[in-house]
């Protein structure tokens, strides 16, 4: 009896395996981003020197549309960080290319808020946007994930 069950398990594994292989093939086709991707738009910087949050000026963000983001930098205890120097880059980790534009800070909006213009994403899929922040506490970086 136990022998038969083992065989049955073995036999059931045929369609299960077929489905699994099919599933992997489909997954590869669609190139999904990692399942545990952190999509939050506010988070501490890598070294914990600041907290950064971003507000894309386009909701939802669409492929190919130039738009701006507002970036807010605060200390870990929530006080605004003024006169920070911010640079922006990014790209698609699964495709190995960068952004199609060179976004830049176009205005210091005060109260730790900065206007970044020139944001554009030319493909659907998983994008990362890296901010390098240099303020009174020193340089730090933070990465935001987006899925278009």
């Amino acid at each position: 009896m136990s022998n038969l069950i083992t065989r049955r398990r073995l036999l059931w594994s045929v369609p299960v395996a077929l489905l699994a292989v099919g599933g992997i093939a489909v997954a590869k086709m669609m190139q999904p981003p990692p399942a545990d991707l952190d999509l939050s738009l506010a988070k501490p910087t890598e070294q914990g020197l600041y907290t950064a949050s971003v507000e894309p000026g386009l909701s939802p963000i669409t492929v190919g549309t130039m738009h701006g983001w507002v970036v807010q930098i605060t200390t870990p205890d929530g006080r605004p960080v003024d006169q920070a120097s911010i640079t922006v880059d990014g790209g698609m980790p699964q495709h190995g290319h960068g952004l199609p534009t060179e976004p830049d800070v176009s205005a210091d909006l005060g109260a730790g808020r900065y206007q970044v213009d020139g944001m554009k994403f030319n493909m659907p899929g998983w994008w990362v946007v890296n901010l390098s922040v240099d303020g009174p506490a020193g340089p730090d970086t933070v990465t935001f994930n987006l899925v278009l």
Partner: protein
């Protein structure tokens, strides 16, 4: 027969049948696929974006003048070449040739015009940033129209003075301007340009730019037309029955287009182009001068006096974001070219930026095998599509042709 043997046989047959059914029958689209498919339909195309650099972009009188200029062969060195000589209206505004033939032969394939008002960059390498700036390039190309801006200004004065004045104000006095003069000319044409004073140069440049703006106003009216694919997308979006709009093979091809074929990496959005630049390892044409694509065009567009930020642009402060945030061309822009819109692609061979590939089937083989680039690095990786899948993709691309009776 033992029970276990029967079970094995039943399961194997069942699995095989399930696998066959999976491959042979159209499957419902997943939510992600539906979203992607819908994003490619014309219904997702936004209204034409404004061109703040061209004050007459939407003026019907400008479009009327532009259309006359577009088909006027007097705008050429031999009186035989107009824009419409290579951009044939009944051929999707292209010429079916590997490389365009004006007064000589160019090094690039003629591009179709429909939808270029949506593109931030024009030409295969994007060395112009508007339709009007683009229109000026061929006029002064020695192998296309073979003219120069002073000649064009005199021609406007002789044949279009009233229409011009109604749109742009009175023409400047050109009495002291020689017949031919241009900073892009050679020999006497260049010398005569250099001998002009700054106000004369500026006056000629302004008339020349206005000619481009009128032609752009006409080109702006050339828009992509619906295909069977768009009808399919409309039905899909409305939750209606899509059967019979595409053949099973075309539907298989669409599934590959948004999936395993990875086509939407670059051919995305309702115009099926990302309007950016990619090295896809297309071979160089023997005998043509070296061509580095986008990597040299970035400097050209930044230096172009007819760009969005230049003195002949009508743009205000805050406009021209594309040019402002263009950045520098990195290594990946070597031999990178713009993906053309795939609308109508099946009926306009040959393909690629210099007509290197004769048929659509061979283009798909190129993407499937991903050959190394002659310079720079190809972004492609082999797709491992089988002949059935390649045939399905090709069939799907045929469904992007404008519906019968439309240009």
């Amino acid at each position: 027969m033992r029970t276990s043997t029967v079970i094995v046989a039943a399961l194997v047959i069942g699995s095989a049948a399930a696998a066959w059914w999976t491959l042979a029958k159209p499957q419902p689209w997943t939510e992600e696929e539906t979203r992607l498919v819908q994003s490619l339909g014309l219904a997702s195309l936004p209204p034409l974006p404004a061109d703040p650099s061209n004050a007459v972009a939407v003026d019907p009188d400008a479009a009327s003048l532009g259309k006359a200029l577009f088909f006027d062969t007097r705008l050429s060195a031999n009186n035989k070449v107009a824009c419409g000589t290579c951009h044939l209206p009944d051929r999707q505004f292209q010429d079916d040739l590997p490389r365009a033939k004006g007064v000589g032969e160019t090094a690039r394939r003629t591009m179709p015009i429909a939808g270029t008002a949506y593109s931030p960059w024009v030409f295969w390498d994007g060395r112009k940033d508007s339709q009007w700036a683009q229109a000026l390039g061929p006029l002064e190309s020695a192998v296309e129209h073979g003219t120069d801006r002073a000649y064009i200004a005199h021609l406007i004065e002789a044949h279009y003075a009233d229409q011009y004045a109604a749109l742009f104000g009175p023409l400047p006095t050109l009495d002291a301007v020689p017949d031919h003069a241009s900073p892009n000319g050679l020999g006497a044409v260049l010398e005569d340009w250099l001998a002009l004073d700054e106000s004369q140069k500026d006056a000629i440049n302004r008339v020349f730019a206005d000619v481009g703006k009128a032609i752009a106003a006409y080109e702006r009216t050339i828009t992509p037309q619906p295909s069977r694919f768009d009808a399919y997308v409309d039905h899909l979006a409305a939750g209606e029955d899509t059967s019979g709009i595409l053949s099973d093979q075309e539907e298989d091809g669409l599934r590959l287009f948004v999936g395993k074929g990875e086509c939407t990496k670059c051919h995305n959005g309702p115009l099926l182009t990302d309007n950016f630049f990619h090295n896809t390892g297309v071979t160089a044409v023997p005998g043509l001068p070296g061509d580095l694509g986008r990597s040299v065009a970035v400097e050209q567009v930044l230096a172009d006096p007819f760009n969005c930020l230049g003195p002949y642009s009508d743009a205000g402060p805050g406009d021209c974001a594309e040019l402002r945030y263009l950045g520098q061309a990195g290594h990946e822009m070597i031999r990178a070219y713009k993906p053309p819109s795939l609308r109508g692609v099946a009926s306009r061979p040959p393909y690629m930026h210099a007509g290197q590939i004769a048929t659509l089937g061979e283009v798909l083989v190129h993407y499937n095998t991903a050959p190394a680039a002659p310079d720079g690095h190809s972004e492609l990786a082999p797709l491992n599509l089988n002949p059935t899948e390649l045939a399905a993709l090709e069939a799907f691309l045929g469904a992007l042709d404008p519906i019968e009776g439309q240009p």
